[in-house]
């Protein structure tokens, strides 16, 4: 199987994730977009590791997963907290720092 296909899939997933982040208002969905982008990059890392016959890319993928897990914990906590205080999960409403 051609390894390039994995890279193309990775690029498509990343673009879908980026579009989700940019276009959706719901914080949970935006968050999911971010996760999709992280995993798309993970796929690219692993593919490159395979292409070069080198484990470094796979190790980095593990690091990314760890960071993503930590980020999910903190990020979801923030979103839940904001939802509780402001009864809204829309990213456009979270503008307290403006002005």
């Amino acid at each position: 199987m051609e390894l390039t296909n994995y890279l193309v899939l990775s690029a498509i997933l990343f673009s879908i994730g980026a579009a989700t982040v940019l276009l959706r208002r719901n914080a949970i969905i935006v968050f999911m977009g971010i996760e999709l982008m992280l995993n798309a990059s993970n796929l690219a890392f692993v593919t490159f590791a395979r292409m070069h016959g080198d484990l470094t890319g796979q190790v980095i993928a593990f690091f990314v997963m760890v960071v993503a897990a930590a980020e999910v914990v903190v990020g979801l906590a923030i979103i839940v907290s904001i939802f509780r205080t402001r009864r809204s999960a829309s990213v456009d409403d979270a503008n307290l720092l403006k002005n």
């Binding site: 982040v21 940019l22 935006v30 990213v91 456009d92 979270a94 503008n95 720092l97 403006k98």
Partner: protein, 639 residues
């Protein structure tokens, strides 16, 4: 005693400091402190005089070093006092007349809430004037020079709640600043030429300078300074307005002492002027112009103080003329200065006394017949009047006559100079007699005009002219005695001229182009004609309450021969135009460049601010866009 001469300056300065710093606490006794410090200065001056008279005539120039003042590389100036016949003459005049005027002011300013401040300024003036005449270097003289300028400004504007008085003070100050530029340039030239500013170096080395142009430049610059301080043409415009100050100030500062500082400067710088005949000629010409200018203006003024101010200008013109005649005239300039100091101060005090009795009305057309009501003022003023007319044996005769004789001997008796200067001095004496008699007759003779109805149906306020209190009359009496006798006493055997010789030098006598008896008789005849004309017009016939339309010359003289208009159109307007153009340039070009730059930055900021819209998604989009740009750069441009 000569070593203690610094006390002369220190005592009045201390008095001024105490009066200004102690504030209202010294209101009760401040005026007496002012009188005491001035009097103490006079006592010290008298003791110094005794000490100086105890020395040989050749040994009478003493420099008292006080302290090292400036030590800056090639410029070393020591602060010191020069005690010599010239400076001591001035010191005696300033402290004596000054003390009398202090006493007079105690009564004159009695009802003024700020009497203490007035005495503080008077003391300050006395200290500054003494510093001016006692300094042994041009730089220290300049300190005193500015000090008297400051005191003059403060005192002209003493009643500064009236805007006109404050304006008059500013006018005097600004005209004097113009003159000070001349003084500063002279100081620079002196330092450049002699490398020093003290009299002993400059005046000793001046005759040895071969470059006459340099000496002429220094002398002319000194003359500019002298013209400003002494209200000489063309810087004379401030003196008339300076009469806005209280009358004792006009007597002390603007008649007897400060305005004569210019004459002092010229005589003191004698060796420089002697080495620059052109500058001497200019001095004499300026003196002659001012002499006639003041006399003509004096004929048309109805304000008693302004008429006296014009007369002061004219008399200082005589002194300048004498000083401009060179060594033959120096001593006579100082002689006339002394006698003038007495009779003019006396007449100003008399004018103050008249104003005191006439509710501060200064318009002579509202006076008349006051001789019956103010006998002491009338007699003392009359003696001053006889003195300024130059009637023998009153003191003005001895000094003015000498100046007229010297004027007829100008230019060593050759060419046009003796005739022109002589005739100007002679005619000036006649005009002086006219306007002073006019003033005297309008005030003390004729019919009582202060009781009359004005032409427009309104009445003059009811007046009760009365003699002034003893504190005011005694100074007038003493000055009147001086006006009557001082000139004759000092003239005995040429005593005063001999006394000044250590400073002015001994001069071989030059014969005037006319025989002396002819000059004397002509002068007296002209004076009598002038006085008679004034008597016929202002004593024998009625004086109208409102000034008649008059000839074009009278109308011009009433507005000081258009001096203010000339100054305004020649200097003030172009100056104003220049500054306004500069302001315009500053606003449009200099400010424009900076404001434009700032405006551009603000515009950029406003544009960039739009991007900070607070939406997390737009920030994310920007990050993505930036990242894509980086990718493009790395992939396509970098390689």
């Amino acid at each position: 005693m000569i070593d203690a001469a610094w006390l002369l300056i220190a005592i009045p300065l201390l008095g001024a400091a105490v009066l200004l710093l102690a504030g209202r606490r010294s209101n009760a006794w401040g005026h007496w402190l002012g009188v005491a410090t001035s009097g103490a200065s006079f006592v010290v001056a008298a003791l110094v005089l005794v000490a100086l008279l105890g020395r040989d005539a050749s040994d009478r120039v003493v420099d008292v070093n006080l302290f090292d003042w400036i030590d800056a590389g090639p410029l070393t100036v020591e602060a010191g006092l020069r005690i010599d016949p010239l400076s001591l003459t001035f010191v005696l005049l300033v402290t004596f007349v000054g003390t009398l005027i202090h006493v007079y002011s105690v009564a004159y300013m009695e009802h003024d809430a700020d009497r203490r401040r007035f005495f503080a300024y008077l003391n300050l003036f006395v200290a500054a004037m003494l510093l001016l005449v006692l300094a042994d270097s041009y730089l220290l003289l300049f300190v005193g020079w500015e000090g008297v300028g400051l005191a003059s400004y403060l005192l002209i504007g003493f009643w500064n709640h009236v805007p006109a008085n404050a304006t008059a003070a500013k006018k005097a100050f600004i005209v004097n600043r113009v003159a000070d530029v001349g003084m500063i340039v002279a100081l620079m030239l002196m330092f450049n030429t002699f490398g020093a500013l003290d009299f002993s170096t400059v005046l000793t080395e001046a005759p040895g300078i071969s470059d006459e142009g340099t000496l002429t430049a220094i002398a002319l610059m000194l003359l500019v300074a002298a013209c400003g301080k002494s209200a000489q043409f063309p810087l004379q415009s401030w003196l008339g307005d300076a009469m806005a100050g209280p009358t004792p100030v006009s007597a002390l500062i603007h008649a007897a002492t400060m305005v004569t500082a210019g004459v002092y400067l010229v005589v003191r710088s004698g060796p420089i002027f002697t080495g620059a005949p052109d500058a001497l000629l200019v001095t004499a010409i300026i003196g002659a112009i001012t002499l006639l200018f003041g006399a003509i203006v004096g004929c048309a003024k109805d304000d008693i103080k302004k008429a006296l101010a014009a007369s002061t200008m004219s008399q200082i013109g005589y002194m300048m003329l004498a000083a401009g005649l060179g060594p033959i005239g120096y001593a006579f300039a100082i002689f006339h200065l002394i006698t003038h100091g007495f009779f003019k101060a006396g007449m100003f005090l008399g004018a103050g006394s008249v104003m005191h009795g006439m509710d501060d009305d200064v318009n002579m057309r509202h006076y008349g017949a006051l001789s019956k009501f103010m006998k002491i003022t009338w007699v003392t003023f009359g003696l001053g009047w006889l003195a300024i007319l130059g009637i023998p044996p009153f003191s003005g005769f001895w000094s003015k006559d000498k100046i007229i004789e010297s004027a007829f001997a100008a230019g060593e008796g050759h060419g046009w100079q003796p005739w022109v200067f002589g005739m100007v001095a002679l005619v000036g004496a006649g005009i002086t007699a006219f306007y002073m008699s006019r003033l005297f007759f309008m005030t003390f003779y004729g019919d009582k005009r202060w009781t009359k109805d004005l032409s427009d149906g309104s009445e003059l306020p009811v007046r009760h002219p009365h003699e002034s209190p003893a504190l005011m009359t005694w100074p007038m009496i003493i000055l009147a005695v001086g006006s009557a006798g001082l000139g004759g006493v000092l003239a005995i055997g040429g005593g005063f001229t001999t006394w000044l010789e250590p400073v002015t030098g001994h001069v071989a006598h030059h014969d005037p182009v006319l025989p002396i008896p002819v000059i004397v008789v002509t002068t007296i005849v002209l004076v009598l004609i002038g006085a008679f004309l004034a008597w016929r017009q202002y004593a024998a016939s009625a004086v109208p309450l409102t000034p008649p339309h008059g000839t074009p010359l009278t109308r011009a003289a009433r507005v000081d021969l258009y001096q203010d208009a000339v100054n305004e159109n020649l200097f003030m307007r172009p100056g104003q135009y220049l500054t306004r153009s500069l302001v315009y340039l500053d606003k449009r070009v200099v400010d424009g460049a900076f404001m434009g730059l700032a405006g551009m930055l603000a515009l950029i900021g406003a544009g960039v601010k739009r991007m900070q819209n607070g939406f997390v998604r737009s920030y994310a989009a920007m990050m993505l866009a930036g990242f894509l740009v980086l990718v493009v750069v790395v992939l396509f441009v970098w390689n």
